[in-house]
Symmetry: C2
Subunit: 338 residues, 2 copies
DNA sequence: CTGAAAGCGCTTACAG
DNA sequence: CTGAAAGCGCTTACAG
C-alpha cells in the first residue's frame, strides 16, 4: 500500500538486519531456513521491491543494455529491437533505446553515466573518437564503422548486393539501375560497391541513382528512371522501402512491373511479401541479428573489465539470402532501348 | 582517459570540495566566478561526466520515462516511440522501452524500481490491480482500460470507425464487412462497435469477421470473404496491415480492388500511401500522439507527489480523420449478390 | 560563497 | 548463519 517500502522496513518487520534481507533475496541458501521464511513473509506483507537504482549504484552495474539507432521510426529496426529486448529480458536485463542523433554531448554522457553497461550501436556515422571514448562493452549491429574499436555483427552487404545482381543477370537483364542509400552510409556504400563490381564482372551496363532508403526516394528515382533514354530493365534498390516506392511510382506512371521493368529491394521487411507485386529482395534475418547482438553484448558485459573489446570469439556469421517473388522477371522481349 | 572519473577527482584537481563541484555543475551562479572557472577547467581536464545512477538515487528521481507496449515490432508503434523520445530528449529525459508482455513479476518491478519516474502505457490488457499498484505517474496512450486510474490520450476509435462506415455508405455500398482485431482488445472492441452502430443507423447489412490486426489475418479474412454467398462490397479492416493483407489476398484470388470490392484500413501507416492501390484509411496522428503523451507525463512528473493522477487539466483531444485514396470506390454496377 | 557531514537504498567484506 | 559498518557517487540542508 505504502508508496515506498525500503529494505529497512522489511528488516524491521522480520526482526533481522538489512544485510540478512539482502542475502535472503539475492542468495537464499546463505541464510537459515527459518530466517529466510520470516524475511519472505515480511517481503510479501510489505510488497517490497528492490530499488534497482540503489542496487545498481552499489554494485556498479546497471543491468541494462542501451540500443542506439539513427532513426527509431524506421521499420527496419523494430523487429531488431524486439529481438534484443526478448533476449535481454530473459537474462534479467532491461533495455534502453535512444536515438543516436540526439547530439554529441548527450551522447557522450550516455556512454558512461552508470545507467547502462553495454551498448548495441546501429549507427556507423558517429564520431569514432566519441564512440571509442565510451568505456563500456560495445557491439556494432547492421551498420558499422571500421574506426570503432568493437566487434561487428551483420550480413555481408557487398556479397548480398552481388546476389541481387546475379539474380537480375540470370533472368536475362543486360542493363541495371541501382538506387543507392545516403552518400555517407556504410550500408549504402557497400551495397553499391557490390552492385557495381558484380555488374561489371557479368558485363552489364550499370547506372547508379542517389537515394536515402525511403519510399519517397524510390518514387523520385522511378521518375528519373522513366526519363532516361535507355532505360535499364532491371532495378536493384538499396532498401525495400525504396523499392516499394519505385514500383508504386512506376505503376502510377503506367509501367508494368515486372513486365516492363524488374525491381528488387533489400531487407525483406514484413510488407515485402504482401505488396502487389510481391517484392523480390534480399532477406536480412533481423530477429537473428538482434538476438546475436544481445547475446554478444551480454557475454561482453559478463567478462572481466579488462577484456579487450575485440578479444572475444567471433560470432556466427549472419547470412543474407535471395528471396525470389513477383517483382522480377525476364526483361521484355522487345527491348525498350534503341 | 581513465575509465571512471568521480566528482572527488575533479574536486581534488580544482582544489575545492565535492559540494562545490556539484554546485558549479548544477547551478553555476551559486558559485563564485573564479571557483567556477577552476572547476570547469578540472572537469574538462578529467573528462568528468556525472554518474547519473548516483545522482538519481540521491535525488530520488530517474529522469527517465518508461514506455510499455505490447509488441515492439509492430509498425504502428515505431513513430510513436520516436516522437516520445524526441520530446523527452529535449527536456533531458531518457527513454526506456519495454515489452509489456514480459511477465507479471518483472512488470511489477518496473513500476517502482527507481529507474523510471513516469510511464507511458500502450497496453490496455494488463491487470488493473498491477497497473494501479505502480506508484508512478502514468499516461495511457492509444489503448486504454477504464480500470486504470490514469489519464488517457488517443483518438475516439468509435467515432473514427463511424467515419469509415460513412465513407463506404456514401459511396453507395449497402453491405459491409468488418475485419476486427483481437477479441479482448479495447481498440478492436470500440472500432467494431462504431462499425456496427453506424452501419445500423445507415441501414446497411453488416458482418464481422475475427482478426488480429496482422497482414495474415487480413489475408485469411479475404479468403473467408470470398467464400461468402452474398459478398459485402465494402470492407473495413481494423488496421492498415490487416487491410493490406486483405487486398493482397483478394488480388491473388483474382478480384479487382476497388472494382469489385472496396477495402479500407485504420491507422494510416507509411505504406498506406504507396500501396497498390493506395489505401483509403483513418489517419491516426502518431507523432502528435507520442508528443502529447510525452508532454503529459512530463507535466505529471514535475507535479508534486501528491498530485492525483486524474487531477491534471485534460489534454487537447487528438483527432482522427478519413483519408480517401484508391482502394475504395462505388460498388460494382451489377450486384454480386443475388 | 564554500565546506563538512549526512544520506539516497542498497550490498558486501569483515567479524563473530 | 547473522549483524555492524563501510561505501557505491552523488546532492543538499546546515553552518559559517
Amino acid at each position: 500500500m505504502s508508496a515506498r517500502v525500503r529494505i529497512k522496513d522489511v528488516a524491521t518487520l522480520a526482526g533481522v538486519s538489512t544485510a540478512t534481507v539482502s542475502r535472503a533475496l539475492s542468495s537464499p541458501d546463505t541464510v537459515g531456513p527459518a530466517t529466510r521464511d520470516k524475511v519472505m513473509e515480511a517481503v510479501k506483507a510489505t510488497g517490497y521491491r528492490i530499488n534497482a537504482a540503489a542496487r545498481d549504484l552499489r554494485q556498479r552495474r546497471a543491468r541494462s543494455i542501451l540500443i542506439l539507432a539513427p532513426n527509431l521510426s524506421n521499420t527496419f529496426f523494430s523487429r531488431i529491437f524486439a529481438a534484443i529486448q526478448e533476449e535481454a529480458s530473459a537474462v534479467g536485463l532491461t533495455v534502453q533505446i535512444s536515438d543516436s542523433r540526439i547530439g554529441r554531448d548527450r551522447l557522450l554522457s550516455l556512454g558512461y553515466d552508470g545507467r547502462a553497461d553495454g551498448i548495441v550501436l546501429l549507427d556507423g556515422s558517429l564520431d569514432p573518437e566519441l564512440v571509442n571514448g565510451w568505456h563500456l562493452p560495445l557491439v556494432q549491429l547492421s551498420e558499422w564503422n571500421d574506426a570503432y574499436d568493437a566487434p561487428r555483427l551483420g550480413i555481408d552487404n557487398r556479397a548480398a548486393a552481388g546476389l541481387a545482381v546475379d539474380h537480375l543477370a540470370d533472368l536475362g537483364h543486360r542493363a541495371l539501375l541501382h538506387v543507392s542509400g545516403p552518400e555517407d552510409n556504410v550500408l549504402a556504400l557497400t551495397r553499391r560497391e557490390g552492385f557495381l563490381d558484380t555488374a561489371e564482372s557479368r558485363d552489364l551496363a550499370r547506372i547508379v541513382l542517389p537515394g536515402d532508403f525511403t519510399l519517397e526516394a524510390g518514387a523520385e528515382a522511378a521518375r528519373r528512371w522513366s526519363r532516361l533514354r535507355d532505360r535499364p530493365t532491371g532495378v536493384f534498390c538499396a532498401s525495400d522501402e525504396c523499392a516499394l516506392g519505385f514500383i508504386s511510382e512506376c505503376v502510377h506512371m503506367g509501367f508494368d512491373v515486372p513486365g516492363e521493368v524488374s525491381v528488387m529491394g533489400f531487407d525483406d521487411i514484413d510488407f515485402a511479401d504482401r505488396f502487389l507485386p510481391s517484392l523480390t529482395t534480399i532477406h536480412q534475418p533481423r530477429k537473428e541479428m538482434g538476438r546475436a547482438a544481445a547475446r554478444r553484448i551480454t557475454q561482453m558485459m559478463q567478462g572481466s573489465e579488462g577484456t579487450l573489446r575485440r578479444s572475444l570469439p567471433p560470432a556466427t556469421p549472419i547470412a543474407a539470402r535471395l528471396v525470389k517473388r513477383s517483382s522480377t522477371a525476364a526483361p521484355p522481349a522487345a527491348p525498350s532501348a534503341g
